[in-house]
Symmetry: C2
Subunit: 326 residues, 2 copies
């Protein structure tokens, strides 16, 4: 075997920890260093890997093949990835769909200048779901693609509930409407409203003297987040929230329906059922870090998306082993 | 738009006709010629495209970018693809899994010598199912992958029944055992026997004075084809066979189960439900013909599999359109 691929993690939250666990399952890779914006001493208590300040990153250039960027899409990645790109190869999970074209252009310029590779927007959506939407649309053009999310925890929606006065803690689940999924699976191609595709369940811990009916109404009427959905609100204790709702499950389906020939329906579906969203996303990032390293060794450079990565690039298997898997 | 990609079809059976219909759905491609081993006059009656003998293929070199090889895997493709490779770019659906490494080596040598591209074993299994097995195994190494086929018509098994004395006609369906699929979908990782994964249903038209119980016994005890499965045999009339069983539906699922972190189950599933197997396979071949042409224009050559083809290569969309789909 060639020498191991040397990985750095930037950002040691849920996703960074998921990446760390995934690297341990890939014998051709090793985790060399964790970059953090926090006090490195504090982070170091949680892991055996060296932890250093993000400001010292350039001292690690020769020690690292690919940096897996594990910050958030809202404020971390748009700042951090252009800082690393061009100096390091990077992989990230930037997931603000509407901003991807601009983000790509920014990162591409840095990476081309520095002759490095940056694979952006890797994960399951964007990521594996995008890839499956593209495969299905390329094979069966003119069809219709539906994406359903859940059952799973949405951090953004949980946070929005926590900001309401009188709320101590909250977890929000996004759920696909099962009748809608079944209709599409059976080859129908309806136009759905937002409400017809997904519903929301909120588990809320209220402050002792809070007005629960006022909180419930405030949640259900919140524009963008809840008003367009059928939303159920359940008030529970902090203990129940911790014991029953502290996991990070998620999942969903991409379903493509098309007709070929004289009215022959063809239904293609890709589905995920995940006990741990950050561990699954971390596992995807690690496979694409392998691809980033290989594409860089092949003298490619610039920003890339999952669409630019051939499946063989993701695998640790040899060419001979792959031929037996075809 | 650039000029259209010029396609030839070699072999005008069910698959060739499926390819012809798929090309009509892709405005960036045009069908220029059909090569046949049969009498071209006879084939020409079925289509508006020029039909010529396979022996005249070299006269069409300048008229064709990619030949989609639509013969059978048993005897046609192993002879025909090495004949075309190195002279034309080709795409084929060679599906004898065990022979793929040898077949790849044969075709690779021809294509490298002639500086052309040949993408082999394109379809849904091998093909899209292989790709999904590889993605899942690369992202979640150490997991377990299950493939279920059906409900669908197996030509090989139908043919085997038709060879039995006293049988006029027959259609065989392969069906996944639904309890097995459900167990895997729920994250279990059992070891199945052949019988536990799939079952078989046979619709048979018997000769007038044939011994039906003898035919049924002969089917159920046929080694390899039926003996290892729970097989049901139904005798029906030729009319019923024609009206109820003349379609070519198929489908199936690839399900990958793995654990990440401390016992978190992750379930990835890719499923197909197809009204027409040859039209779906034909649609896949057409998308990979687009990729073959582009990879050849990028000065790549040799044999390739679906694992070597980046998803973006399959799409007629521009780079800007693709960035919006990520």
């Amino acid at each position: 075997m060639d020498r191991k691929i040397k990985i750095a993690i930037c950002g040691y939250g849920n996703l960074g920890k998921g990446v760390e666990k995934a690297i341990a399952k890939n014998p051709d890779m090793e985790l060399r260093v964790i970059f953090t914006r926090r006090d490195p001493e504090e982070v170091a208590k949680q892991t055996d890997t060296p932890v250093v300040s993000i400001d010292e990153r350039e001292e690690w250039i020769d020690e690292v093949d690919v940096v897996i960027m594990c910050g958030g899409s809202a404020t971390d990645l748009p700042v951090q990835v252009p800082m690393f790109a061009g100096v390091f190869n990077t992989v990230d999970s930037f997931d603000t769909h509407a901003d991807i074209p601009n983000y790509f252009a920014n990162v591409d310029e840095k990476a081309r200048t520095g002759e490095t590779i940056s694979i952006i927007s890797v994960g399951w959506d964007p990521g594996m779901f995008s890839t499956n939407r593209l495969y299905a649309d390329s094979i069966l053009p003119g069809g219709k693609t539906y994406t359903f999310w859940g059952e799973g925890v949405s951090q953004g929606h949980s946070d929005a509930i926590r900001r309401i006065e009188g709320v101590k803690n909250a977890v929000q689940y996004t759920l696909p409407v099962s009748e809608a999924v079944e209709r599409v699976r059976n080859g129908e191609t309806p136009e759905f409203t937002t409400r017809e595709k997904h519903r929301r369940e909120c588990f809320v811990v209220a402050e002792e003297n809070a007005d629960q009916s006022k909180i419930a109404a405030e949640i259900k009427n919140m524009p963008k987040y809840f008003a367009d959905y059928d939303t159920e609100v359940y008030f529970i204790s902090e203990e129940e929230l911790k014991s029953e709702h502290s996991g990070m499950p998620h999942g969903g389906s991409v379903i493509h329906i098309a007709e070929t020939g004289e009215g022959n329906k063809q239904v293609v579906e890709y589905s995920l059922k995940l006990d741990s969203n950050p561990e699954f996303t971390g596992s995807i990032l690690v496979a694409y870090a392998r691809a980033a390293y290989r594409m860089w060794k092949d003298r490619q450079c610039g920003a890339k998306t999952v669409f630019d990565v051939a499946p063989a690039m993701l695998s640790s298997k040899t060419h001979e082993e792959l031929l037996k898997m075809v």
